[in-house]
Every structure is written in C-alpha cells, then in structure tokens.
Amino acid sequence: MRLRTDDDIYRARLVYLGPPGYTLPVHLPYAQYGLFMLLVPLYMFVHWLFTLQVELFPAWEIALAIVTTSFVFRYVDPDRPARMVIHTALTDWRRTREPAAEQRDPRLVGSRIRIREELA
C-alpha cells in the first residue's frame, strides 16, 4: 500500500499580494502581516509605559516590529508555525549559552494521584 500524508496540502504558501489593483513589491505570508500588526501595539504599549505618551506615528515601534517579525519568521516553516516559534522563544529563553549550572525545573510529581483498582 502506498501511504502518504496530506501535509503538502497544508504546506501551500499563502502570501498577501497586495490590495486589489496594486501589487506589493514583496509578497509576504499573511501570518507575517498578522504578527506585525500585533507587535506594533505591543511596542507602543511598552513605549507608553516608559514615556506615558502616545506618538502619532510610531516610527520606532514599526521598525522594531518589522525587525522582530522578520526575526521570528526566519524560524518559521510549514512544520514550525509562528506560534510555536514564539512559544519556544518565550519558554526557553533564559540564556543562549550553556550555563555552568543548569537551571532546575520543577519536579513533576505524581504521588498525589489517587488510585482505585476498579472503576465503579
């Protein structure tokens, strides 16, 4: 039996070409625009935390968001969605070099689980 996955269908590259009538010079995946649009307000909020004022044209924020987005999407491929890349970056971030002393993670303890031999 020849068996194959359906993954290639989900691997199709869906890009935003631009608004109708105008084709953008670069074609980026939709997800990239989405992430960018999430990041700009986030950076604006961070900015606001420091300065307590909102700028009319958030130039720095846009620039940072572009950099961050492209940085994230360097690691994105059909098997590694942006969500996973960001999640990994956030949960695994502490240091990139191997430290001298390892970080101890919480032990996972199952001793409080109740056991009964029969269901009912």
Partner: protein, 1080 residues
Amino acid sequence: MSSHYAPGSPAGQSAATQGDAAQSVGYAAELEEAHHDPTRATSPGHGGVGVFQAPRPLQQRTPTDPSPTAGTDIDSPFLDLFGATRPARSTPSRVATREQQPTIPQQLGAGDPPAASTAPAAPPAPAAPAEVERSPAGSPRRSTRVPHQIGERLAPTETGAAPLPAETGAATPPVETGAADPPPADTTPRRHPGERSDPDSRDAPPSNRRSTGRRDRTTKPARVRPPKIKFKDRDPSVELAITEIAGHLTFTPNTVTAWYWLPEVRWAFRPDAEREALLAAISEQYAGLAGFRLHLRRTTRPFPADEWARTIDTHTRAPLPDVPGTPSWADHLVAAQRHLHSVNHAEGQTYLGVTFARRSLGDSLVERVRRSFGRGVAEGERRKLGRTVEQFDEVLGAFGMRGRRVTTPELEWLLYRSVALCMAPPGRLSPVTDGHWERGDLLALTEQVERYRTPYGSTVKLVNRMTGEEGHVAVLAVGRMEPLEIPERHEPWLHFHERLPWPMELSSRVDILGSGDSFRNLEHRLRMIRSQQLDYAEHGIDAPPELERLAERALVIGDEMTTGLPVESARAHGWHRLAVGGRTREECLERARRLIQLYSRELRVSLQHPKNQDWLAREFIPGEPIANTGYVRRMPVNLFAAALPQAASTVGDRRGDLIGRTAGTCRRPVFLDLHFPMEVRERSGLGVFVAEPGGGKSTLLGALGYLAARRGVQVTLLDPSGPLARLCAMPELAPYARVLNLTGSEPGTLAPYSLIPTPLRSEFSTGDAGDREFEIAVSNARAERRMLVQDICMMLVPPQVAREASTATLFRHAVRQVPAEETATLDDVVATLGKLDDDAGRELANLLLDTAEMPLAMLFFGRPPAGLLGPDATLTVITMAGLRLPDLKIEREYWSAEEALALPMLHTAHRLAVRRCYGGSMSSRKLVGLDEAHFMEGWRSGRSFLVRLARDSRKWNLAALVASQNPKDILGLDVQNLVSTVFVGRIAEDEEIASEALRLLRVPVNDGYEATLASLSAADSSSAARLGYREFVMRDVDGRVQKVRVDVSYVDGLLDHLDTTPAAIAAAAGVLPVVADLEA
C-alpha cells in the same frame, strides 16, 4: 534513497546487504556498542541476577543445634525456613557439594510425567516419592536443592506421610504458590520502597552514642543546627495533571482518558496479504475512534532475566551435577543472565489512551472537595463513565489491535516511566516476582526525579535523587514524511527505531477526525488555495504551479472522503515524538543523530530535533499538555495504523536455554526448550536444521546438545565427521560424557535387526485396545526391521547388482524367511540366501560375504556387544572418524568401496543413535541430534525412520534434531507436517534450495525472502576476521518465524570446543584432547 529498503520488506529487490538480514551501515558499530554498553537503558542495576544454589548435601539441622544464626533474636517459626543455611549463604555453598558428587549421573525424575514441569507448582507426581527411594545416589542431592525446586515443594503435601525431619527445614511451606517463589538467595525480608530511609535510621544510634560520649567530656552541649537547604526555585515541584487513576481510566481536571494495552503483533516473515489485513483492521479501529484524542505511548521494560532463570531452573529437575573447578549449574545460569543484561534486551509495552470525556466544572469541583476528605472522583461520575467506556472495549478488542484494559499497576508503571523518561526503571520490580510494588509506590518514586534544562538546549537532564543516576533525554519530532509503501517495502514507521540497540520511548498525540471533520478541514484549506490562485490572477501574476497541483490533490482527497468508506475519510492529525536517552549529553546527542540518520536514509522520514525540550519531554506523560503545535502530521488513519509501534519479533519459548537473540527488526532474546513442543504444545519434537556447509549447523547442534546436557537431558549426538566429539572434553561434561567411534567398534555394533527396538507391553494402555495397539506396534517393528535389512543389503551389494529386478526379489524372499526379531542377524540372511535353490541367491550371499571382509562392514554382521549404549552417560557423541562420505550428486557406480560402505553405516548409525533413547523411561527427557541426515533420502527405510522418529518423539519425550544440507531431503521425505522447529541457515548458492527452505519455514516463496536467506551470516568483506556469529531463520513450534543470531558465547569455552574450522582444530590440538583419547 531508493536503494535502501527496510528489513523484512521483500519487494523482490536485490538485497545482499538489505532485507531482513540487512543492517544499516552503522549497524555493526551499533552492535559493538550494544556489547560494550552493559549499563544503559534497560538499565544498570535493574533486573538482578537470580543466583541459584548448587546442589549440596543436606545440612543436618537438629532442633538442638546450638550454632547461633543471624537474626535469631526474633522468635518466629518462619525465620527458620531457610534457617541453618543462613550464615553459609554469603559463601558459595558449592564447596560443600563437591565431596558428595554422585559418580554416575542419573536422570532423575525419570518416572515423573514431563507435563508436570509445565506448571511450576503443579501437584506432585505420585511417582515422585517412590523415585526418591529408588535412586539413592540422587535423593540426598535432590532433597537439598534450593527450596523452590519442584521436588521439595511438592514432597510434603500429597504423600501424606510425615516428611523427614531433615527435609522440613529445606521445604517451603505448601501454601506457597509457584508464582510467588521467594528469591532463593534472598532471605532478608522484603522491603518496601518506603523503607528506603532505613539505613539512616539505623545510623542514628551510633551517632547518638557518639554524642553522648561527647556530652560526657564537655559539660556544655553544643547545639547542632541542621544545615539549611535553600531552593532557589519558587516551587520545586509541580503536580502532574492527572489527579486520579480509577481502573483503566485517568482523570485530569478537564478530561478523562481510558487506557488500553496493545499486545505485540508479529510482523516479520508474514505474507503481505496478512500484514495488509492487519493494517486494515487497525485502521478501521482507529477510524472507529473518530472524534477522540488518542495518546499512543510505547515504553520499555527490561527483560526479566532472573524470572527466566527461575523458570528454567524450575523446569530443570535434575541439572548435571557439578564438577569441581568448573562452572556449576548455578554459575551457568548466572552467566546467562549476565549475558542477557549486557545485551540490553528491552521488551516494548504499548499503551493507547483515548481521551473521551470532557469533565464539567461541577465534576472537577466535586472531586476537589471530595479529595480533601480523601475520597476523589464522585461515584456517580465514575459509574456514568464506566458505561461510556465500554464502547472502546468493543472497538479496540477486535482483531487488529486486540487491546485490553490496562491495570492500575501498569498505568503507574507508565506514569513513572514517563516522568523518568529513558531512565533506569526502578529496580526490583521484575526481579522479585513477589516483591511487587504496592499501590502508589511507583508514583511516590516520581518525587525523586529532578529535571534540569538548559535554555534552548537540545536535551533535558534528569537526575534520580535516590539512585544518583543521571540521564539525558533528547526528544525528536517526526517531521516531513515521504510516501511509504508499508507492507511491501518499508517497515512500520514507529517500529523501525527498534533496530537500534538502545531502548527508546514513543509518544503520539493524535486527534482522529471523522469524515465530516476532515472534509471540512480539507475544504477550508482548498478554499484558501483557490483564493490565493484568484489573487494571483487578479494581480496578473503567474501563480506558482504547485498551487494548482495541491488544489487538485485536495480535490481528489476530498472526493475520496465524500464517496469512500469511513476508513478512507478518517484522518489522524497529531504529533509523534521519539525520546532518546543517554548517560551523557554527548551520548544522547550521538544516539539522536544516529536515529535521525537511520530514519532519513531508510524510511525517508525526517526527524526533527526542536528546542523546548523540557516541554516535549513532558508531553510523554499521560495527561500533560501538548508541548507545542509544531510538527503536526496530518495523515489518513491507514498511515497512522502503519506506524504499528506494537510490532515485535519474538520467537521461541520463554522457558528454555538462551541461544541468542532475534536479529531482524528488533532484538529480543531467544530461548529454546526442545521439549516444549512435546510437553506443552503436544506436538512432535522433530527439529530440522538446514544450511549450506559452513552455515553453522553442526555448531548449533553441538551448542543445543551441550545446553540440554547441562539441564540433565540425556543427549545423543551423531556427528559423522567428528568435531562434536570434542564437546565431551569440556571439563564440566567430561565425567558424564562418552564418545563412541563407530569406525573402531566391535563387529555387530550396527547389526540392523537389533537397531529397531521391540515395543514393550507396558508402553501401551491396559485393556483390549491397548493389546491391539501393542500387537500392531510389534508387527510394525517387524516390518520395519525387514525393510531396513533389505535396504542395508541393497546398499551393501554393488549398484549394478542392486539394480537387477531379481536382486530385490531374492532379498525379500530371504528376509521373509528370517524371523524379524531383535535377535536375528545379517548372517542369518546370508545363510538363508545360500540355502536358496538358486544360483543368483548364492551369488548374492557370496557378495554379502565379500563385503563382510571389509573391516567396516563387519559392524553389520554378528550380534551387537552387550551394554553398548546404556543410558548411563548424559552426553554420548557417536562419531565415524575417518569415514569418507560420498558425494550424493555422483552416481553410485563411481563411489569407492569405502564411500559405498558409508551409506549403510550412516543409515544404521542414525538408528543406533535413536535406539539409545528407547532404553530408558518414556517420559524422561531425551535429545538426539543427527547430522548429515540427507543420506537418508532416497531410501524408504530412511523416510520411515524420520516419520517414526517424529511420531515417537511425543510418546517418548524425545527431541530429535536433524541437520541436512538441502531442505529437499526433508521435504522429499514428506515429514514436513511433523516438524515443529526449523532452523534455516545461510543459503546463497541456489535459489531453488532457498525456496525449498522457505517452504520448510512456511514463509511465502517468491516474495523476496530468498534474498534474506542469502544474506544470513553475511561476512563483512572488508574485514579479515572470522565471523563471530551465525544467523538462522527460525520457525518455532507456534509458527512464528524470525531471524535469529545464535550466540552462546556466555558459556565459557563452548565455542572453542565447537569450532570446526581446520585452523581452530589445529590450534586446539595441543590444548584439547584428540578424539581417540576421549573414547570410552
């Protein structure tokens, strides 16, 4: 890429280094590693070695024994069970035995029905007490064997007579069942894991004493402060998501999962049709679970070597008495267990969890409240779930997966193994059968496992606080997969990892989508693709061609879904992970690299090694969340079914001697008890060995003979060429072995009439039916004698004469006149021929007399010397040193006189070897090994011999091993249906012979398996060293076929004695005695 095929995938491809025999390029190195890796994975310290005590004389314990024993301060009758032996236990008790070696080894338990040995604690055979009296040499020895030996266990219960006072000390109380044998060497009371802090508490008194002493000296007591332990982490421990295990269900706050145990299924050497049927059945079962989330989990359990050793010891009623200075029976078993440990055999265990219910907020709140009262999940909820869960029993229990509900200990085991991923399993679970874990013990052990990670690290470090063991785990995710042809060319893709010699863990989290869901999912995707195409068109840009291709594929799949069966439309979307462990980070990463390489090369599956390892490792624990959304694989359930992690390749029984391991798709130890077919399966005990010269037949025959002899089986080996005679020189066998060289024997040794025993009336049941059977058997024996004598006469006369029609008639005539009793001789036939009123008859008589002048032919004439082959020696090797065996391909006319004589000699020698087995008791275990059996073909007496051997094997508990170079001989004899065990070695020269051999194995012919036979024991052409092992394809009595690698290296010196290569013989000549010295 395409040049590599998975093993066991015939596909008709040339596979000199492929196929079932095939090893990946790095395989040899992997093997090496397996041998040099005694500690890993199936784990250091796990699975203790069961030590057996040598047979030793009873230590006379009288009630007034004044010798103080350890621990006598507690006054309990049970402490006395192993009482007096206690102080001696630390020292090997062998010393005591040696003075009392019985000089003549007896096969004990001769009167016991062999079937009794199948049930370890079966009620005693009535003959047992009588037998004790009968064999005075054996009885003291028997009664002093370790208490779990069958003899002692039984004696007191059924005889009714008061047991000897001396025996009561050694006997186990009759209440004990076989399954709960105490470990023989371990008399200390069992300790619970909870008691592990004992040493500390025991240390306390001395320290107190010290401190009191100090107090005496210094008047002011210094205040001792305990060192302050600081944890930097805010919360060093996190509860698992699972809150309760009830029966086979696990509860987390939000979900309920039902767990099933998937038994192993056979994969290798099955016809493709069968495999496809299996996969189809499993896919249907998965499709039946549409809408649920599954957790498929595979973990391993180290092979319980000591459990096996205890089994074999139980089934060995009278092992060969020990010879001073050589490894004893106990040492022999210990060596085998060590070997088992060192080769890292792990047994897979596959669990399937079906998450089937979401719990309401109320339910989990109720549980939380009840927990504080120590109650747990409400009964109403459990009862409700109990009804729902029955549907899964039905779906999963059918042909295919044949799943059964797991038990709570199994779930605990799974949880522990998942928390301590790839680490050594807790010791003393399997080793002591009665030392099973109490409920909750294993889960408590999870507290001891600490987890460390490095940021963006590639491994997780786990440390077991209790044992100090450190392990590193790398979790790999299954990435892109190319199309697989599963039964034909590729292995099941989650079984494939078992080729590597270290155990791994698997976890698949899968959502099964039914037809509706998967179609909706697909349609959505199709719309997105179409819209993208539209976009391109609107913008006037050429759309990438892949979009159209993918859209078309989506359409085809969508069509399949809407019009096909539910099985075709169901989809499994999920995450598949493999965990690889190692003692160090480097080792772990190296193993991960090898695994990735193996998968990409042979299966074209790319395994990815993502970051976020600690979350991935956590995903293996049932109930824990999915680590991340990456590497989701979307596949039809067929492909998911073809992952088949529960595939396995076991062969052999689990109660015989260790003869090697399987060498196909995974490595499992192979045990073979040649009496298992007769005693348990009630089949014939005929075993057939087929291989080209040099394929290792003789060595295997010798090894099996040795192992059986060690277990006290009466072994007779016929080895015409003679190298097996050196077996008798092995120090542990030497006193109990003898060599019979036929070429130097007395006349009459091979007298054909006496080779066929007359049945005894006692062998048949009483009554009329028995009488009739007996009469039939007696006349059958007579007919067989006549047939044999005619054949021998035909072989003795020149072929030109034999071909004449009158010769056969005259012989028949003469043989008819001689009474076909055991006492008749060939001389009677000659005399009868001479008296015939016929010239031709007289001529034939003269011809026979002519041959009789040759020294070897003298063996056929006259009466056999008395006591030639008594049942005394445990191992008898019959050789025909110096005999020149003819080439059967050459016409008989061209054989020299000596070669011509070899034919009748071999025929009669085969019969002589078997004749010995009819001497003793019917039920005692006997083994006869016959080499060069292909000379039996072409003669009707040869066929009748084998058929009779196969038929008698059950009645006489006789394991008969027949080795031949060509399977056609056996097939031509048409005894295939009677064959229970088959070993086929390397057959590379002749395709036809290979297909015959496959037929013998009952493996599909012309399916590409011929290449597998050719690649057995394939030598590495780049190395100049000799191949250290031999491979066979073995079929056991249950019809399981598997490639095995015979490895008896654990027996010290056995291979040196079995080496049949000329160089080795020459080298050994100085050290090992030559055959002539060995002859008794």
